[in-house]
Symmetry: C2
Subunit: 281 residues, 2 copies
Amino acid sequence: MEIIRTPSMMKETSKRLLMKGRTIGFVPTMGALHEGHLYLSKCARSENDVVVASIFVNPTQFGPTEDFQQYPREFESDRQKLETASVDILFAPDVPAIYPEGFATSVEVKGLSEKLCGALRPGHFSGVATIVCKFFNMVMPTRAYFGQKDFQQALIIQKMIGDLNLNVESILCATVREGDGLAMSSRNRYLLPAEREAATVLYKTLQSASRMIETGLEPRVIMERMQAMLMAEPLITEVQYAGVYDPETLNARIATGKRNLLAVAVKIGNTRLIDNIVVGL
Amino acid sequence: MEIIRTPSMMKETSKRLLMKGRTIGFVPTMGALHEGHLYLSKCARSENDVVVASIFVNPTQFGPTEDFQQYPREFESDRQKLETASVDILFAPDVPAIYPEGFATSVEVKGLSEKLCGALRPGHFSGVATIVCKFFNMVMPTRAYFGQKDFQQALIIQKMIGDLNLNVESILCATVREGDGLAMSSRNRYLLPAEREAATVLYKTLQSASRMIETGLEPRVIMERMQAMLMAEPLITEVQYAGVYDPETLNARIATGKRNLLAVAVKIGNTRLIDNIVVGL
């Protein structure tokens, strides 16, 4: 596996590959890799000639009170995991290479960016859209792979790709879960043992809500029950949202005969966790 | 000259050219072509294998009280001019192809976009940055050509290219002027004969200010004299700005031993005109 540290070297490498007619599959990450990331790499591996993964903890998508400083960085173990996953190129630039002094440009996807997580993390999705746009321009991927756990992120990126006419196909890959249903996340390692146990309530709530939709309960009632089920877990300190949403607009909605997004965001202690499933049709 | 009307056809055409190793020179325009545009085409012709010009009157860069509706549209005469200028491809999409229903994404270059014209036309440069980013992704040019008359626009686009890691080189081409010094502009045709005569005061003011810099006058004094010179022309109804600026930051500044941007923006009747020159070193 080749390791590339600079935008210019990444661009040169990708241009050379594209001129030879190679397809490039891209897996952007913030490191602290888990099975979810490796599944994205596997999907990329099966559909492209060359697989590029990136590791970059993007400061602009963290709020001032969020966990940018403490976010886990473990380059050597990440490198080994990507090597084992047959990734060809690891692109791991440093912050000054990506945000040189005087950096002033941002990409914003209005509407979708203000819903759900966006309402709680102002500026987060602008930070995400901007960095993903930059990485697309450096890596020039044929296809880019995103996990469903970050459903809203994937939706916003897909919208940006269409609106800005970017030359990449975004591919949504299934959420990978622990044996007890907890969605893989780099932030799971923040959880104390009792919190880790309590965290299983997120997926249980989603599954329970899925059954409620089948029985024809009203979304308002489903939302209340999801909320109650989460609040019944003593270690959950805050339910940020829980409900049934349109998977295209992220608006809360009546759930009849269509695909529905069931999504939750909570805090357990100081750790923020999200999860979702899409049901129907 | 080939005429392309859809983003998908433009992309396919450019991809095919790039895979053959061709360089693409791009001249984005809003039509109503004049000698300034044709000079950009000439520069593009001399440096690239293939020249693409676009015509698209971009609604998002016009303010609600500006001249979007009345902006001159004269496709057939523009087409002939580009044909004569040996342009290979004319890309002329319609508005719904560029801004389909639900379009929600914008590109913003902070700082530079709020100076000079940006202070008077809120949202204008975000509209410009967004459409140029989109066209870059559709045309995939090796080089893109912009006129110095729109100095601030060119500076913002160059900043966007760097910040978003876009794969294009932007090239600034000299302002083309009428015999009496008036900078070529599609909006010159709005001027009544007396206004057209009065409009020569813009370039005269810039030249005069250039001489004042050489004599070592203070920028504050130069600015006041520029202002006075413009206001002395009875048909000028408003001086929006006139002064000496840093050509990199667009901040007003002391002008000693460096490149200086002299720039003016006025209204003559209802017509807004801008001009600038860069002097020193």
